[in-house]
Symmetry: C2
């Protein structure tokens, strides 16, 4: 009988996540009941939002219980089915968690097509991160041609798409990323107009030099000092899409944002958002993203860890910014 | 020949404004030229935004030059006219500055009717502060009946109107003010459901107790610690109208806002705004405000200093929260 390896939340983190916060367990693979189907997971997505689910704090989604399965999206293959809508051999994406096998009744499950794009892409540019970029930029911030768009975590799963969508919209796209290799990639491969390394001295001066006409749209993934710098450069009537605060998720004490005055004097509109609030626009977003990917107007990079047992380490690395591209775990 | 007393900006403040930042001078009263009229100012409005104009920092409006006339709105009487649209004996409101007499070509000048309301009201509930409350609450935050609205500086010119408009809209109105007298006034006279004194110990706990269903709309006039507390109590999909940051205008170092995470996880929409951006809604706002005032659904309180020479002291007191109601200077 095959074994289903799972990763559970062993203990809530205090500050930085460690590998001790996770526990790998083995369970028998269960057969689907009536109305269910069984999935063998092939790819696990690792995303910053998971850090929030490990905490006890009030958030937009239920926390993971201690001893519970870590939440996460996967792509897998249907290997057994008692569900009329899902057949063995089909590929699906769903919130199946950090495990090698899952059962589902189909709720929230999307069929994916391996002939259209590599299966892993449905966890990235053709999945939640891509739609996050599309909604946050095109539906919320609504940049106009000629405007300047700044995005932090620019080489990541969301940020890399944001900048490329900004270019498609006719904007100046400026990334913020950690280290020369990522910045070079963002400019040379992804086609951003500039990218500023937040780890260098004089970060603020460099960012200012990269936005000679100021910032019209800030797509914020990071928060903290980087966000405070961007605030000082925002233009009148500019927009901020607040999508993530990854610099804060493991901080013992939150960073205090000092440039709130910019929000007032520049009459900025800031919108916090979670892509799952906008399920109605997913089809339109995925349509655009798939088309632009097919036209090679969207480039995409992945960072792949091998094996479920390496998921915790890869997750921690991603929170530290050590990944380069969309972080995934290949499960087999 | 009559004398026009004026108050000029003598020097830019460093941190707190002092009376030494101002200088009183005397000028001859000038006769209007062709297309001009002359005004004798009766009431000068003192408002927090003036603090920003004294600084060198980039803002939404030009700064006052050192040696220049302090900006401000007044209500006055036309005493001489070579302008076909303005006749001697009419009353007007305009940006005539901190002085006893002014010349105007009519740009931005509004005629006001002393039979409809006391003239000073056109600088408050029937002027910029009232319209600020109307736009920021009803047009930007758009509270629904049954929601909870929190407003800081609740006994002030803007805040007092915000809370009363919230009550008219069927909301729970909770004020934040400094000291028991102001809080009692806000509840007992203005009809707010509760008011929390930010100067008391356990301010945050008291604010939380006053909003048992959380905060749906925060109309922010103050910023700093008070705003940080409110952020922790915001509901999902709540709105923040950022109208002022009076706690910060004289601060040597800006307060660092720590609860940015609430903006993200609660998908908050924050909008910074300046009422002069929305000139097109002034007529509608003034119509509502005038009607509700006539119906005694809006109550209103003024703090009046006597004589132009006392304007600097009254202005500094207002920034410290020492005023109680809309701060004015009666010029004669």
């Amino acid at each position: 009988m095959p074994i289903n390896r799972q990763i559970l939340l062993a203990a809530r983190p205090k500050g930085w996540v460690t590998e001790e916060n996770f526990k790998l367990v083995e369970q028998p693979v269960l057969a689907p009941g009536a109305g269910q189907f069984g999935v063998r997971n092939l790819w696990l997505s690792l995303d910053p939002y998971m850090r929030g689910r490990m905490d006890d704090a009030k958030s937009y989604a239920p926390q993971v219980e201690v001893g519970g399965l870590m939440v996460g999206a996967t792509v897998g293959e249907v290997i057994a089915s008692q569900h009329p809508g899902f057949n063995v051999g089909e590929f699906v994406s769903g919130a199946f968690g950090w495990q090698e096998y899952a059962l589902s009744d189909g709720t929230g499950v999307r069929k994916v097509d391996p002939s259209r794009a590599p299966l892993s892409y449905y966890l990235g540019v053709l999945g939640m991160p891509g739609v996050t970029a599309w909604v946050g930029l095109l539906d919320i911030a609504r940049p106009q041609a000629g405007e300047t768009v700044v995005v932090s975590a620019a080489s990541g799963a969301v940020g890399s798409v944001v900048g490329q969508l900004a270019k498609i919209a006719g904007c100046r796209a400026v990334g913020i990323a950690g280290g020369k290799a990522k910045c070079d990639y963002v400019v040379d491969e992804l086609g951003f107009d500039a990218c500023v390394d937040y780890k260098t001295a004089k970060f603020h001066d460099r960012l200012r030099a990269a936005v000679p006409k100021g910032i019209d749209v800030c797509f914020e993934n990071v928060g903290g000092k980087v966000f405070d710098s961007a605030l000082r450069l925002m233009n009148p009537f500019s927009r901020i899409t607040l999508c993530g605060l990854v610099s804060q998720y493991n901080a013992a004490a939150p960073y205090g944002v000092k440039n709130m005055r910019s929000l007032l004097v520049n009459r900025i509109r800031l919108q916090g958002f979670i892509v799952s609030d906008r399920l109605e626009v997913w089809p339109r977003a995925l349509d655009d993203l798939g088309r632009w990917l097919g036209e090679r107007r969207l480039k995409y990079r992945e960072a792949v860890a091998q094996g479920l047992e390496n998921a915790p380490r890869a997750f921690i690395g991603m929170l530290r910014g050590e990944n380069f591209g969309k972080q995934l775990v290949q499960l087999r």
